[in-house]
Symmetry: C2
Subunit: 384 residues, 2 copies
């Protein structure tokens, strides 16, 4: 399954020695066609890694026949030498596959500011090429992991005969624009690059873009959608987009569930908003509030911290007209305490916060994690 | 010292039983004149506590003869009953002092969403009134503490014969607009409320507003400046503002140094900016980056996380033209690693981060803390 689920794709994941752990660290996914349409969305961070600079050029052409990804180093802020490493990686894949280098997407993830070991990386690319197979999806997904504890895979199939498959990595620095991560999604549906781009932007806007684990945006991350057309089926674009959106949401929730050191998955829904932007701004403000996130870790349904976060936004609302529920218990209504906060059960991993602004009928959900000792530990004891 | 340093002020702090610990929790500061000019700046949070709603009206009148403050409850989101408690508090001070209730400023701090015990509070106000003295500044400063571990006092004296004195509380939720906290500053200089307002806004803009301990903005906090005119000296407004600014900076650094669970005071200076707003936006983005803050806790000079935060801003810069220094070691220059990161010594409590955008000649400094296990512990294990 995963990226090799759809017809026309082969993949591999190998250990090139970039990770000090010796784990898998180079992934290669090759599109055998007949088509090679591609689309991608990129981090909106203005400090961009070398692979992002390269891949943006590839994607602009609308065609990609392979994507090569490495963990063990972000190749960001590594200067001209770093860009040459990215370029050499694409050239190596081109040499091995016979496709033009300008159709090879490159992604990297890991520590910023350190050069990748180019000989090791290129040797890994060769090994990956030699290992390519229709069953290589699992290894490829393993090879892009950094602090992830599990591989993240997903698939969707249409009764019309086309399929979507995806793999994702990311366990921190997950914040929009574009919730940062590396994601590769493949499909054998027949779609051109403009159609892929339309579908991908619609899907990521309500999935990865609404995942905000720690408010931190990466320099490296990218969601790439490749089409082989091997099913020879041309989907209805609306149906395809709906299916892609489902897959993106599934992968986003898998990223959330594996976020560094979290003990709760918090779904923050703002409803009754005048605009969707208002709903999003309010949900995001709460998702980024460290005091609220620490309270949830402590199983404390601290609605005061929620309202204090809501109050920092420019959304339309009456501060004394807001309702707040946690796990279906209405704990604050219209500026006053409502049901007893002790009724709120935060012992489970999933937490549903619903904020009703009573200012309209639009809504948006942002998902985040709690702020835990383990988060601090993972992000202070190890460079990443 | 503190608020009773300037002539014309008496103060007290008493235990009214609002804090479960039994500690001091009601403070009263009375201005004996001859003048009673006042100015204040308030949280920009749109969810405002009852004492803020009340005090804004008092400050609009430009005159205040007393300020009464309580810890042990924020009196925020407590509905009409909560507002009546604030009103009753002002009325009680008015009854005891003979000043109009409309000239009594009220501040509260503590947990949101719980009613204050009105009888206990009013009884505490009476006790405080009976305890008023020229040596009550220390007790008053104690009575406004919440999770603070030390009282925060400061003073400035002019050779011209006028004096400033201040007390502050706050150890979390310290973020602008207005770095949130309770601060009372008194002066015996002769100044009207417009002059006080001008000076206070200028001073807080570069002091409390540049303190961002955890990005969280409170519903309750306020900086109040009261003038008795008892020195009979009319200062030059520029000199007064400079002195007030120094005092505000001193108090802000004392808040920083006592921030919940921090192990480093981080001073983030952005220089070489095209505008001061750009410099401020960049410094603030870094100050709010959890990954960077956790890295500093781990004594890891992780400049990649700094640049990733810088890249989220709209400031003018070339992403490959930025220099980053930590504690005077230039660790990244123009998009590449520079000096060896192991040279950076993060064993001390003070950390100086300097980001040079090379886009102009303006600068701004924001101070923050690291993200530590103790921060998570304090904000998860205890409701506040």
């Amino acid at each position: 399954m995963s990226v090799v689920g759809p017809k026309g794709f082969i993949a591999a994941g190998v250990a090139a020695g970039l990770k000090t752990s010796g784990g898998l660290d180079v992934a290669l996914v090759v599109n055998q066609g007949p088509n090679n349409a591609v689309a991608a969305v990129f981090t909106t961070n203005r400090c961009l890694a070398n692979p992002i600079l390269w891949s943006k050029q590839v994607i602009a052409g609308g065609q990609a026949s392979a994507i090569v990804l490495n963990s063990g180093g972000a190749n960001c802020y590594t200067g001209a030498q770093g860009f040459q490493t990215t370029h050499a990686t694409a050239e190596k894949v081109a040499e091995l596959t016979g496709f033009p280098a300008a159709e090879i997407v490159v992604c990297s993830t890991g520590l910023i500011g350190e050069q990748l070991d180019r000989p090791k990386l290129l040797s890994g690319v060769t090994s990956a090429f030699e290992s390519l197979s229709e069953s290589g999806g699992q290894d490829a997904a393993h090879a892009i992991m950094t602090t992830d504890t599990v591989v993240k895979l997903g698939t969707r199939s249409s009764t019309e005969g086309w399929t979507l498959g995806g793999m994702a990595k990311g366990a921190g620095m997950l914040a929009p624009g574009l919730a940062t991560m590396l994601v590769v999604i493949t499909t054998d549906a027949v779609l051109n690059s403009e159609q892929l781009d339309t579908a991908l932007r619609a899907a990521t806007r309500v999935s990865f873009d609404r995942l905000d684990s720690d408010g931190c945006m990466s320099t490296n991350d990218q969601v790439t959608l490749m089409s082989s057309g091997a099913s020879q089926k041309t989907p209805d674009l609306g149906e395809f987009t709906a299916s892609l959106t489902e897959l993106c949401k599934e992968l986003a929730l898998k990223l959330l569930d594996d976020a560094e050191g979290s003990s709760h998955n918090i779904h923050i829904t703002t409803e009754g908003a005048k605009t969707e932007e208002d709903a999003l701004e309010v949900s995001r403000a709460v998702a980024r509030n460290n005091l609220f996130k620490a309270a949830i870790f402590g199983k404390d349904p601290n609605w005061g911290r929620i309202l204090a976060a809501v109050g920092t936004t420019s959304a339309e609302f009456d501060p004394y007209g807001i309702d707040v529920s946690i796990n279906s218990i209405l704990i604050s209504s219209k500026g006053e305490p409502a049901e007893d906060r002790s009724k709120v059960d935060l012992s489970g991993k999933e937490v549903q916060v619903v904020i009703d602004l009573h200012a309209g009928n639009l809504s948006a959900t942002v998902v985040t994690n709690d702020l835990t000792h383990s988060y601090v530990e993972e992000n202070s004891a190890y460079s990443s």
